[in-house]
Structures are given as structure tokens and as C-alpha cells.
Point group: C2
Chain length 347, copies 2
């Protein structure tokens, strides 16, 4: 079975490494896995070869997807459209196409508009973060992470099963979600944290005293603003393809900040000119509740995440017997998805 990865950054590279890891297992050996990679940048392809994140790289996306049962598109969002245009005519009948982009509505639409009806598109989005460089690609990047799956309306059942199984194979937790919900929710949990990080950095660095200010930066600032160091192209595409959700959350964020401002003023021991106010004339209660609510809210999320990880460590994917394995693989990769080598294997 041939799997093609288009776009060899952190996520594409980690997919490659995780698949190559699986290829060493008995199930992987049975599948006769071959991972081919393509990246628009020659230097990136070279790096991918050096780091051995794929079995080999090729010079064009068309070459990569030829005879591939599964195509994983791991480019920045806007480039996916072009990739679909490039590969549409070459895709194998029955191939499964998936992606890893952080926004899903446009990708699903492009798949419908540009990909042939003989292939199935199952959108994907691993909720695994890290700075964006191929050098940090890691076969365990997806271990335990929630992996959103959004199949196109015409995706075949077995294509959905195949992507689900691959997501399990790389150690992630498949999570089916509606495309509109996905885009609205990731705006809150991922795009807003990014934009707040970006704005905090620009706030500090555009200030006159910023050289002195930066001396005072500790781990708190560094952690809070880590996302601002990500790939500009990736984030720009995210903002562009999810602008409506982001604007809606930005408005709510601004409303909350205005309430917060009033609470700080009410609780403050200084007036706006910096003059001291008597403690009796202040009211810290609303601010206190606001801070407590956030602390409890975050602790709850942290706890839920820990619980999730714990459940996963019990729920290890059972290793199927050789007999079951053949059944499993043939159930998933039937028809066009099931490539020649696999067929030979079953004779």
C-alpha cells in the first residue's frame, strides 16, 4: 500500500515517521507500506530525505499521488486548493484523500469542487501543537491527541474507516465533528490564543521601553506567547479561511476585556492618574470572581485532558492476530483503495 504525503513540515513529517514506525509492526508489514513525500520546496524535500521522515521523495505532487491508496495533504490551508487542482486528474480510482489543516469549511468545499467523485475526501485536523519545523517531526507527536475528522458528504464508508484506522495507528483519538462547529470551536481554543499571543508581543515590542521590558520577560510571558513564533504562512491562511469565526470571537473577547477593565478599576488601589485610593472605597469581589472562574475553568479542562490521557493508556489499540489483521485490512482497503500489492498478498 502506498501513502503519499504532500507538504513535509512538522505535521507531514510526523505523519511520515509514525507511519514508518507502524510499517515495522506485523500489521504494517502485512500492508506492505510505502510512504512517498512531496514538498514544493526542494530544500524541504532534501531535509525530509536526510531526516528519513518518508521512504523517498518525488519532484511533483502528481508523481507522489500516482497509485497511492491514501493521500495526506499537509500544506498550509490555502495551498490545499492548488494541490487539489494539481492531483485531481492523477488520483487513483477509490483513493482516500485527507488533510491536516486547522480550518475545514473551505477545504471541504474545495474537495467537492475540485476532486473527482471517484475518490473520497475525509478532512482531518490533529489537535497537536508544537513549533512548526520539520526538524521537530516526531513519530509520537500525535500520541493521545484528539484528531478531528470531517468526512465530505459523499465520502465512502470504507474511506472513513480507513482514515479512522490510520489515525488510531498513529496513536491519536479520532473525533468526528461537523465542519461549522469545528471552525467555530477551534477559533476559540486555538486561533484566539494565537491572536492574543501575537498582540501581547506587539504590545510589548512596540512600546518605547521594550528593551527594558524584554529583560523582565520570564517563563510566564514566554509560555503565553509561544504560539506567536509559529509559521506566519500557516497562521495567515488560518485567519483568512476562518475570518468570520475569528471576528465573532474577537468581538466577544473585546467585550470581556471591557468588563474586565471595569472590574480592575473597581478593585484598584490606584486611580487612573496613579494616586492611591483607600482600600475601603474599592470593591475587589467582581474581579475576584472573574479570576476564580478562569482558574476553575482551566483546571477543569486540564483535568479532563488528564482523564482523557489516562483512559487512553488503558485503551491501547489491541494487536490483532494475523488472521484478524488480514480481515481488518481488507475491510478497510477494499475496492480501489486496496492496491495491487495487497491483493497479491491475499491470494
Amino acid at each position: 500500500m502506498k501513502i503519499a504525503i504532500i507538504g513535509l513540515g512538522l505535521i507531514g513529517g510526523s505523519w511520515g515517521l509514525a507511519l514508518k514506525e507502524w510499517a515495522k509492526s506485523e500489521e504494517g508489514k502485512t500492508a506492505g507500506l510505502e510512504v512517498v513525500g512531496f514538498d514544493a520546496k526542494g530544500a524541504q524535500r532534501h531535509e525530509a530525505e536526510r531526516l528519513k521522515v518518508v521512504d523517498f521523495t518525488v519532484q511533483t505532487p502528481m508523481e507522489a499521488v500516482k497509485d497511492a491508496s491514501v493521500v495526506i495533504v499537509a500544506t498550509p490551508v490555502v495551498a490545499i486548493r492548488e494541490t487539489f487542482e494539481d492531483i485531481a486528474a492523477v488520483l487513483m480510482n477509490g483513493a482516500v484523500v485527507t488533510d491536516v489543516a486547522s480550518t475545514k469549511r473551505d477545504v471541504i468545499r474545495w474537495a467537492r469542487e475540485l476532486l473527482p467523485t471517484t475518490v473520497s475526501f475525509v478532512g482531518g485536523h490533529p489537535m497537536a501543537g508544537k513549533t512548526a519545523s520539520l526538524e521537530e517531526a516526531d513519530s509520537t507527536l500525535f500520541k493521545g491527541c484528539t484528531y478531528c475528522l470531517i468526512p465530505a458528504s459523499n465520502a465512502k464508508e470504507e474511506a472513513i474507516d480507513a482514515v479512522t484506522r490510520l489515525v488510531e495507528i498513529i496513536g491519536a483519538k479520532p473525533h468526528f465533528i461537523d465542519q461549522d462547529e469545528h471552525d467555530a470551536y477551534v477559533a476559540a481554543i486555538s486561533h484566539m490564543p494565537f491572536l492574543s499571543a501575537v498582540t501581547l508581543v506587539n504590545l510589548a515590542t512596540s512600546s518605547e521601553g521594550w528593551r527594558e521590558i524584554s529583560r523582565l520577560a520570564s517563563t510566564g510571558f514566554q509560555d503565553t506567547t509561544r504560539l506567536a513564533s509559529g509559521s506566519t504562512q500557516m497562521w495567515l491562511d488560518i485567519c483568512r479561511t476562518n475570518s468570520d469565526s475569528i471576528i465573532s470571537w474577537l468581538d466577544r473577547y473585546q467585550d470581556q476585556l471591557s468588563s474586565l477593565r471595569a472590574m480592575v478599576e473597581m478593585a484598584g488601589l490606584r486611580d487612573e492618574q496613579g494616586r492611591s485610593r483607600s482600600i475601603e472605597s474599592t470593591n475587589p469581589e467582581p474581579l475576584k470572581s472573574y479570576l476564580e472562574k478562569a482558574r476553575d475553568g482551566r483546571d477543569k479542562i486540564e483535568l479532563a485532558k488528564q482523564q482523557q490521557r489516562k483512559e487512553e493508556s488503558f485503551e491501547t489499540v489491541p494487536m490483532p492476530s494475523k488472521q484478524e489483521m488480514r480481515g481488518e485490512m481488507s475491510r478497510l482497503f477494499t475496492g480501489g483503495i486496496f492496491n495491487r500489492r495487497k491483493k497479491d498478498d491475499q491470494k
Copy 2:
């Protein structure tokens, strides 16, 4: 020499552990160091004894500071006032009082108003972050961190030297700064990141879909909002004593967010109703520059921090000879600061 620590949380506990570590060195042995701790909460005192972060604890702040050459007040900001009131009459002539609070103007004022003129106050603020619990106290917490020092106007030269030396002893980098600048700058680099974290959490958790949203939280969200899990009392006090600086930065933050909103709108491939817009009708350039500026700004801060750490690893505090050590210690702890045991030692 007796050093008293009032307030046994993460910072007080880490001070204790770092000093106890130093006490084992030759310089420390010569000083005959004894670290006594007090915390208003009995359970916290008990925990401090269990974790051995101080040599012993006492039942009242007065008992702790009696005969102490140095007093480190490590309570939340607002409680410092009360502590000063409690200990003022008992402080040894010539004692040095320092604190670790995140805001400095009020503390400096309370020191002037409440402490006797026979003692010197040297405000301190270690730029070392971590979640706030005594269990995480660590003798290496301050290693390489910038440690702000803000002496009261009437602080004696040798008191300033003594605190500077202690800060070096615990591995931090003394950094003298004006109280107004300190409070304005930490608002940008520490209090704003906290308030943005808090607001991001409240934004996500107050949404209807928050259960589903929280499933999608990855390390990006967790890192960006880590500060929201800190001690509410500590942060409430910080907001109250630095309300004017915070409000001024909040206003600038809101202005930046409004510009950002316009940039996202201009770059967006969707209008506010979520309808697709043609790519030609959009302009991503302003948003791109904004994101690039933040990425470069943060990378610069990160680089400066790494450079600073590198310099520090070369600049290890030289171990003085026994002769020099006595000179060093007697220069620092002369007069009232120099306690009986030290005097006996020098006879």
C-alpha cells in the same frame, strides 16, 4: 546569621531551599546561617517543616524576625502591609527587609510609612514563574532569572549590597530598576499575559459549546492559559496594586485588537455572515506584517533570553578564599546586620 522568611509559598519556600543549599558551602558555613519561617496558615507551616524548606518555623511573624539580620517577606502583596505593621516594633536595629512582590510602588510606600528608620528596605521581585504551590519549591527556581531590586530611598548602602549578594547567592541576576518603571513594565510583560489568559479561558468556558470546545484544547491552549491557574489571591493583589498601569495597557491592548480585527476582515476569505469572498477582493498584507512583526519580536526576546543565560553560565559567581570571604561577609553584614554569632566567629 539569622534570615527570616514570612510567607511560605513557592517563592518563600524556594528562597529557603536556596539559602539552605548555600549554608552548606564554605561561605555559608562561615556565615552560620539559620533560616526561620513563618506563614499565617498553620497547615502551610506544617508543610514547610515537612518539606524542610526552612530550618524551623515559628508561630508569629514577630518571633520570626526577632534577631534576624535579613527578613524576606514573601506573602501576597496586600498582606505585606499587615506584616510590616506586625514586625515594625520587633525588627533588629540595622536589619534588612526585602520582599518578593510583583508590584512595588505600594510596598515601597508601606515600608516608608510603617517600618522604623533603623532598618533598610530593599524591594525585590524575582522574574521566575511557575504554578504557585509550596510543593514545587525548588532551590534552583531563581537560577539565571532577572531579579528586580528597588531600594527605598533611605536604604543603607550595605543593606543594598547585602540583598544584592543574597540574590547572587541564589543564582539570580540582580537588576536595579525604578519603582514606576517596574510597575509599568511588569504590567506589560506579566500582568497583561495573565489577564489575557484569564479572559481566553472565560471566553471558552462561558460559551454554550464549551464541553465540546474543551475536547479540542491542545498544548497551545494549555500553554497560553497556564497563568490563569495561578493563585487567585496573589493575582488579585497584583491587579489591585497596579490597577492604573494595567488599565493603561488594557486600553492599548484593546486598540491593537481593534486594528487586528480590521486586518482579519480585510484578509478574510469569508464575510461576517460566513459567505465565501473571492481571493482577489481580499488584502492579506497588513495582517501578514502584523503576524511577522510578532514572530520576529518574540524570537528576539527569546534570543536575548538565551544570550543572557549563556552569559550567566560563563559568569559563575567566583568562590572567594576564606580570607576574602570574611572580608566580604563583614563588608555586607556590618553594624546591626552583623549578628552575635557572626561576631563570635570573627574574634
